[in-house]
């Protein structure tokens, strides 16, 4: 063999090996997937506990015992998961390390995150299921970014469709009934003293805006429990506290031409700035990047609060759904189309009612979010409802009660020292009619989390978290 032949022979082998490596790398790259999963909830729905449990189930999913409905686990293709370096420089970390310590400590408690945006990245290693994929690449990675943000921000999106006048009219109408009528009195009285055509000054702007903010806070308050509250940053101001962006309120048009610098003109200008610099900015910087969205609700709390709170939650859920509907012809909603393809509504704390009530919980949530006639408009976005429990705090115990077999719930209610056994009552399977509310029928309790055996690396008992995970990630780990 001549030197030349040798060289070319070696070169050919090298080339082949290099090519194989390159192909392998390329396949790896193709197999590695990314997904941004957004989690939000209406007022205190247990969002931090949900995300903490979700992460924990994935990190400790290798045993398989805990996630039977997550296909990649059931099919023995799950190779493990771990947390990665934070993906975005500006976005605070979701402090799983802190929250899991709170949840699994000696005195276990539900963790509570600070208000605002946070995120965490997990890497999930798995075996691809397809024959070809399996041969080329024995393992692939799904990079999962979980983004936690306040439900108030999601409820701001509908504002983009509203003019200042339309929004003001809507709010004034809301304030004519229910708890809003009483709670808005002080604000409306302060507003009534203003002449929309008068020259605006900052001190007066601030005064009526503070009244309006207090009205929103009172609506959200534990006692009232309303959900459909806008603008969201008035409730979570962060670094915008005292900024003009948060210093306005709805106002009736004073008639005629409103002059520059008048109260009405300044209110309207600030509302438009809020839409532009807060809502649209959230949409552009974050929302448009999400692949899938979870919305958590605490239905039992809404039922406890009675018809106003319950109907308001339904309004909020419908408002959210409208943001995802393609039937709408406006420019904004069409922007949603490309990214989010799955939307999961979750009724949390399912374990706070007896097991035989779980189907009703799910059915009720379903009734709230999907009006059958409108289902068509959600084509393209898969919408699912699920009742689950991030951390099971109770046991269902069936007992005879004066000749009837009833399902009781056993657990330690929040703020109490001892376990109790109680009959929390039934969840209506359809939207309660006005007569259903007559007696203060619903009185569901919150429970303390159990002590987790094994602490931080123990198993956290859950209900249907695996079904949620399968819906959200199943098609990405095939």
């Amino acid at each position: 063999m001549s030197t030349l032949q040798k060289m070319s022979h070696f070169s050919f082998t090298d080339l082949l090996s290099e090519s194989r490596k390159a192909l392998n790398d390329l396949t790896h790259l193709a197999m590695d997937r990314r997904i941004r999963l957004a989690v939000t909830g209406l007022n205190q729905s247990g969002k931090t506990a949900f995300i903490t449990s979700l992460i924990h189930q994935l990190l400790h999913g290798l045993g398989g015992a805990n996630l039977p409905f997550f296909s990649v686990v059931a099919e023995n293709r799950f190779l493990g998961a771990k947390t990665m370096l934070q993906p975005n420089m500006e976005i605070p970390a979701f402090r799983y390390d802190q929250f899991i310590a709170t949840l699994t400590g000696n005195k276990p408690d539900f963790p509570r995150a600070t208000d605002g945006l946070s995120e965490i990245r997990l890497a999930i290693r798995f075996q691809p299921s397809g024959m070809i994929a399996k041969q080329i690449s024995p393992a692939a990675t799904l990079y999962l970014d979980i983004v936690d943000y306040p439900g108030e921000w999601l409820l701001d999106l509908p504002l983009l469709d509203l003019s200042f006048k339309a929004w003001s009219d809507q709010l004034f109408a809301f304030c004519q009934e229910g708890p809003r009528e009483r709670l808005s009195a002080a604000w409306l009285s302060a507003l009534g003293e203003l002449d929309g055509n008068g020259a605006a000054d900052e001190e007066t702007m601030r005064l009526v805006s503070q009244h309006f903010t207090r009205f929103l806070q009172d609506c959200r308050d534990q006692k009232t429990g309303l959900s459909y509250l806008q603008p969201g940053r008035f409730l979570i101001p962060g670094e915008l506290k005292d900024a003009p962006l948060l210093t306005f309120c709805p106002m009736a048009h004073p008639g005629g031409v409103v002059g520059e610098g008048s109260f009405y003109e300044v209110m309207e200008k600030r509302f438009e700035s809020y839409k532009d610099r807060v809502v649209r900015k959230f949409y552009q910087d974050h929302f448009s990047q999400f692949d899938r969205q979870i919305v958590l609700v605490d239905l039992q709390k809404a039922l406890n609060h009675g018809p106003n709170s319950f109907n308001d939650m339904q309004n909020a859920l419908q408002g959210i759904l409208n943001s995802f509907s393609y039937g709408h012809s406006n420019l904004f909603t069409r922007l949603f189309q490309p990214k989010i393809d799955k939307l999961l509504f979750v009724a949390t704390k399912a374990d706070h009612v007896a097991a035989n009530q779980h189907p009703n919980l799910e059915r009720l949530l379903n009734r709230m979010v999907v009006r059958p006639a409108n289902e068509a408009i959600f084509q393209g976005v898969e919408v699912k409802t699920l009742a689950l429990s991030s951390v099971v705090c109770t046991q269902t115990v069936v007992r005879d009660h004066h000749g009837r077999r009833l399902s009781f719930v056993k657990g330690r209610p929040k703020g109490r020292d001892k376990e109790v056994m109680l009959f929390p009552g039934e969840i209506p399977e359809s939207l309660p009619s006005s007569s259903d509310w007559e007696e203060s029928r619903f009185n569901f309790l919150d429970f303390q989390p159990p002590t987790i055996v094994g602490g931080r690396s123990g198993q956290i008992p859950h209900l249907r978290m695996d079904q949620a995970i399968e819906f959200l990630l199943g098609d990405k780990v095939l």
Copy 2:
């Protein structure tokens, strides 16, 4: 006169009147001026009290009694001032309304603003002094935006000139002496266990970064009182708390080529992101818009703390000055040139020492900021030092003391019920030499503000606030 003549006659008059009106409007426009005045201070220098007093003196300056050195007042050309609508949508309001209530209430106290940026706009009406200007326009308006921001942000600017390596080296050198040696021990020990070439994980990054943050907090602490602390957002995280931008620390280069994803590489990347997304962003969004800058320092506190704190303050002041010097050839510092043309260093709380010590206070500050040899490099930026008191809390009383006439200070020290008369000692007129520090020579006290007669609209006694105002605004109200 023909119709045509009539018409043209009328038209000509109309035209003349229109032209005069336009000229008038134009002149008004030309006479109306805007100025953005930035106020910052090193660690607890009384910035909120200073700005509150500044606003108050201007709003109530019409009497003239209180601002003899403000030329527009002295020359009877001052027509009054008032607060205006907030100028920028995103920037929180400087809450003068709250602060003045705290300062002039029944139990007067010094107001304290929340950390972060805030601003307020005043309109100052005055008669122009020039003969021609006076004839064309009897009154002009100066729009004054006062911007309040943390000194930590100003101290971040020098970072733009430093590489991660240079910054790390500088910090490690700082940690070899003074209180930093002791306070950095825990952080340096945790850092020492890391291999710069090892694969970075978020939990470890967070751990060393938390140690480093605690070190910075301890340095700033009341007991230690250091000023030259970077990066500033580690001390005032706001909405960036737990974000990767604030999750790094200085690190020694491990040698060789550092791989992607190694601790050193991730630290360096985050440092560069901090420079880019925090420091440069502050520069672009805010600093580059400032016309004039005030830096407040509490010299007495630095003297109380001893040589380390005092020298550190001097380093901080020099660092700030370097950001303004044109001699520097780097790209960044040249960016300063167009805007800021006056820089005022203020020693606050002058009333906490006897009146005969005020000249020394000013001279000492002057020595700290202006090294005579370097004065030339500040051409183009007028630099001034001033000792003043935003709110006078004491009286100077001259008494015989064992045969010597000494100047005592009478007032109610912070946290005490009764007035005392004390001899706070002398302010050195030049930089203290090491022997000057021998005995714990300096022990200046903080005092409570006096009760203001007339409350919110009463006169707040001050020292040389008018000289500060004249320096900052005098040339804009001519």
